[in-house]
Amino acid sequence: MQWDYFFDQVISHRDALLQGTAVTIGVSLSAIVAGTLLGIAIGVAVTYGIKPLRWPARVYIDIIRGTPVLVLVLATFYISSAVGLDLGAFQAGVLALTLFCASHVGEILRGALQALPRGQIEAGRAIGLTFAGIFRHILFPQALRYALPTWITAAVEMVKASTLLSVIGVAELLLTTQQIISNNFLNMQFYLLAGLIYFLIDFAIEQVGRYVGRRLDRPARRTT
């Protein structure tokens, strides 16, 4: 195998590879942050919302989660231009990933909130807190602890799903890899390299999640 040639090629394309990795991280991070914020609103609406709020949130979660991410990405990309929304591939891709992330975070948060005993809301009311106060000081911190492991999994999924933006022409790591391959035909080596970079990003997220999870666990263990 032409490994010498491969290493030469990696060095001569290092800027493109770094750029692609940066775009992958940027896309994933924006989608995770925006998707988490939207997802929290959806999760709260679906768990505690009044009916006219709860139903749309439920339908949103079920529709987005029932659709493959690739279809979501393609649909957002093509439909946004068809209705005259002038989104570029990058914005359409981030929008699709954000919608996807929000549905997952909404469902995760719902699961976590429903695992909390109902009596806590009543206790919060009894000491005169508003719902916003109850949510902020009682429910959310506990739900966060429950939801963290699944949220980390969702974050890893987002990085993996960002590869789908290569299909609509966003020059993230995978599309950059494909462009490099079209010059030198080192298919196997460069896909391996891309796989390694993705693995390292995802593995890092997992480890950070584990570390934060241990930190969050500590006070709980002390009191019980």
Binding site: I63, P68, L70, A75, L164, M188, F199
Partner: protein, 221 residues
């Protein structure tokens, strides 16, 4: 917004869309079968007495779970021929999906194995069952029952992942949706119909598996 809906050009391609979703279901079924078998082996390997084998199994799970499925698909289809292993696109996609799902299934089965109460295994030993009979008659049935809900979730995800076959031109639903999209420009309609078909299928799979779960639980009672 001055968009006029016209579903006729999409409905004219209905047989293509149906054949696409049929192929997607078939890909998912074959891959979950192979992936589950492989995942079962990996799950048992994580508990092997040999530490070397156990770490190999954990590495398998960790590596495959942290790789994007699209990279695995492209690597197998475009990269393997360089090593002299050329597979046609459907076979290579099935291999990719099976490997990917084997890691998730291994996690599911591993959790199932951990949930088998040790007392039942000891009870088996007490009445003089051999090691293989304990595994076959006690551990495996309990493990499968515990694993069923997570298995269902994995199968639905796997079915959605078959949409990636479109990137290597396997003619499943997403492939046809893109084709119809570029041929008719009925952009909104075609993606609405495609998503709806996926949603209906995912929902149907969930319902079937839930019914199956209920029956198995009743049997246990």
């Amino acid at each position: 917004m001055s968009y006029h809906f016209n579903f006729a050009p999409i409905l004219a391609q209905w047989p293509l869309l149906l054949s696409g979703i049929g192929l997607g279901l078939l890909l998912a079924l074959v891959s979950i079968a192979i992936g589950s078998l492989l995942g079962l082996v990996v799950a048992f390997a994580t508990r092997a007495p040999s530490r070397w084998l156990a770490s190999l199994a954990f590495a398998w799970i960790s590596i495959l779970r942290n790789l994007p499925i699209l990279v695995i698909v492209l690597f197998l289809f475009f990269g393997m021929p360089q090593l002299g292993l050329s597979l046609d696109k459907i076979t290579s996609f099935i291999v990719a999906l099976s490997l990917y799902t084997s890691a998730y299934m291994a996690e599911v089965f591993r959790a199932g194995l951990l949930s088998v109460p040790p007392g039942l295994i000891e009870a088996g030993q007490a009445i003089g069952l051999t090691r293989s009979r304990i595994q076959r008659d006690i551990v495996l049935p309990i493990m499968f029952r515990n694993a069923l809900p997570a298995f269902g979730n994995n199968f639905v995800s796997l079915f959605k992942d078959t949409s990636l076959a479109a990137t290597i031109a396997v003619p499943e639903l997403t492939y046809y949706a893109r084709k119809i999209n570029s041929e008719t420009f009925r952009v909104i309609e075609v993606w609405l119909v495609a998503s709806l078909l996926y949603i209906v299928c995912c929902y149907a799979i969930t319902l079937i598996l839930r019914a199956l779960e209920k029956r198995l639980v009743l049997e246990a009672n």
